[in-house]
């Protein structure tokens, strides 16, 4: 019974918290720029407004265009259930590990990219092409980082990793390198500033916004909520591996409450760091993405090499 409750909570909480996190990041960014910023709950209102509105479809839009937002959102949501946010008991019976999470996120990306090209506008095409370039560069980096973590934790399942990390694995430079790689991949995948600017509709630089330009109404609401959930997903992923303190291992109510509070604190801390980082730096040229993500891949490879040396020789 408790297991089921925890599962339902871990299923619903991230979706409920996702718009709040986005609102929080926007608020902090606005404050840092000396503006007042929209209220914290504005993303909820935006989503509600989009849901009320009638979706406008292009004449030549196919079933793929209509189905992709739901498919992409479902894939991201399913990936989210595999991440221990409150307790280390997740998704009973599903057995989703980090590799499955990467696969589900890839599925979501492909659906949105296909939908971007479906209507045949040039903006959708250019956005989809850039998105797939970023994906093709980010995924190897993510996988190498996963390998490094799996060597340390002896498992690719996140609950096991969290448990292994909270038991202490010593001081490892490989962990720092894997963290660097995952953070860089997360920035690229969630479309944050050095790679994509989430707040722009300036034609030449946008990636995600270009792909979803044709969407409106409830379809757009699903895509926006999916993007917000993806941010929660990556922050929770990083927190559950690199800051697994306070995760409840059993089912005690006190533990769970503390873990919930800690999770929200970690999300807020991550959102704050993200906002400061985004305010401090400028967007990168499109042609420099391969360097940025190449560096992430390199961090991952170095991490694996260092691990190989220290573990192989011991």
């Amino acid at each position: 019974m408790t297991t089921l409750l925890i599962f339902v909570a871990q299923l619903l909480l991230p979706v409920a918290a996702a718009p709040l996190l986005t609102g929080f990041v926007r608020k902090i960014k606005a404050r840092l720029l000396g503006r007042r910023g929209p209220p914290l709950l504005q993303p909820y209102r935006d989503l509600a407004r989009l849901l009320r509105k009638e979706p406008i479809l292009a004449d030549n839009a196919s079933w793929l265009f209509r189905g992709a937002p739901y498919g992409a959102f479902a894939a991201i949501w399913l990936a989210m259930t595999a991440i221990p946010t409150v307790a280390t008991t997740t998704s009973p019976g599903l057995g989703l590990d980090l590799i499955a999470i990467a696969g589900l996120l890839g599925l979501a990306r492909i659906l949105i990219a296909l939908a971007g090209m479906d209507v045949g506008t040039s903006f959708g095409g250019i956005g989809a092409s850039r998105e797939m370039t970023i994906g093709a560069l980010a995924e190897p980096a993510l996988f190498v980082a996963i390998i490094a973590l799996a060597i340390i934790a002896n498992s690719t399942a996140l609950p096991d990793m969290s448990r292994a990390m909270s038991e202490g694995v010593g001081l490892r430079v490989s962990l720092a390198l894997a963290l660097g790689a995952i953070v860089m991949v997360a920035i690229a995948e969630t479309g944050r500033i050095p790679v994509d600017n989430p707040a722009t509709h300036l034609e030449l630089t946008m990636v995600h916004e270009a792909m979803v330009l044709e969407y409106s109404g409830r379809h757009l609401a699903m895509i926006e909520l999916g993007a917000m959930l993806k941010l929660v997903l990556y922050l929770s992923l990083i927190a559950s591996i690199f800051a697994p303190w306070g995760l409840a291992h059993g089912g005690g109510a006190g533990d769970l409450g503390a873990a919930l509070g800690l999770w929200l604190t970690k999300l807020a801390a991550g959102g704050f760091v993200l906002a400061v980082f985004e305010t401090a730096i400028a967007k990168m040229r499109v042609f420099r993405y391969p360097e940025f993500l190449g560096a992430a891949l390199l961090f991952g490879i170095l991490g694996v090499v260092f691990l190989y040396i220290s573990q192989h020789l011991k």
């Binding site: 001081l171 490892r172 430079v173 360097e291 961090f299 170095l302 090499v305 040396i309 020789l313």
Partner: protein, 221 residues
Amino acid sequence: MTDLAFDVAHLLGALVLTLSFALLYQRRLTTAINVVAMQAATLAAAAAWQAVTRDSPHLFATAAIALIFKAAAVPLLLHWLIRRLNISGTVEPVFGVTLTMGLGVGITGLAILLVLPITAGETLLLREDLAFALAVTLIGPLLMIARRNAVIQVVGFMSMENGLILAAVGVKGMPLVVEASVAFSVMIATFIFGVFFFHIRERFDSLDVSRLEEMQGERHG
């Protein structure tokens, strides 16, 4: 050796190598100088840690030399030169950053494959330190090849020297006089480079060392 002692030594050694890669990635001149200063500081920390855990106080001298000369004096001098010569901030690489970093990873793999078999039977820390040191020593010249800017040549040279000291820190019984003379020669080399900057700047109005080829007279090919 306790686990903690090994972990910290591993961390510092790997950090020195990682900073070498940061140098390869870096396009800005001033940041590259800061990174190499950071590398020297990390090296000093590694030497000091060895001095504590192995109870060999002469390594403190190594750490002090690295910290004073390479983490402070030479970088300050280079910063001063950049301000004085009004050098522009970014350096375009000869070939792509991604390719350079790929070569760097290849060199690291090569260094590990080379060092581990020939040091079989030694202590774990020594083997690891030597592998990292060889990689850092080889990445220095790679950086010098991959950039045409004269200031980066000095940075690559200093990074190479950091690798040599890292090797010296790991090996037992490296006489202090060797380290001192290496540090001294780097200092001298930096001064020579400084004079050299002024001269090629005066003559070519640029710090691009490929201009020096004009001085070779007849060019082949």
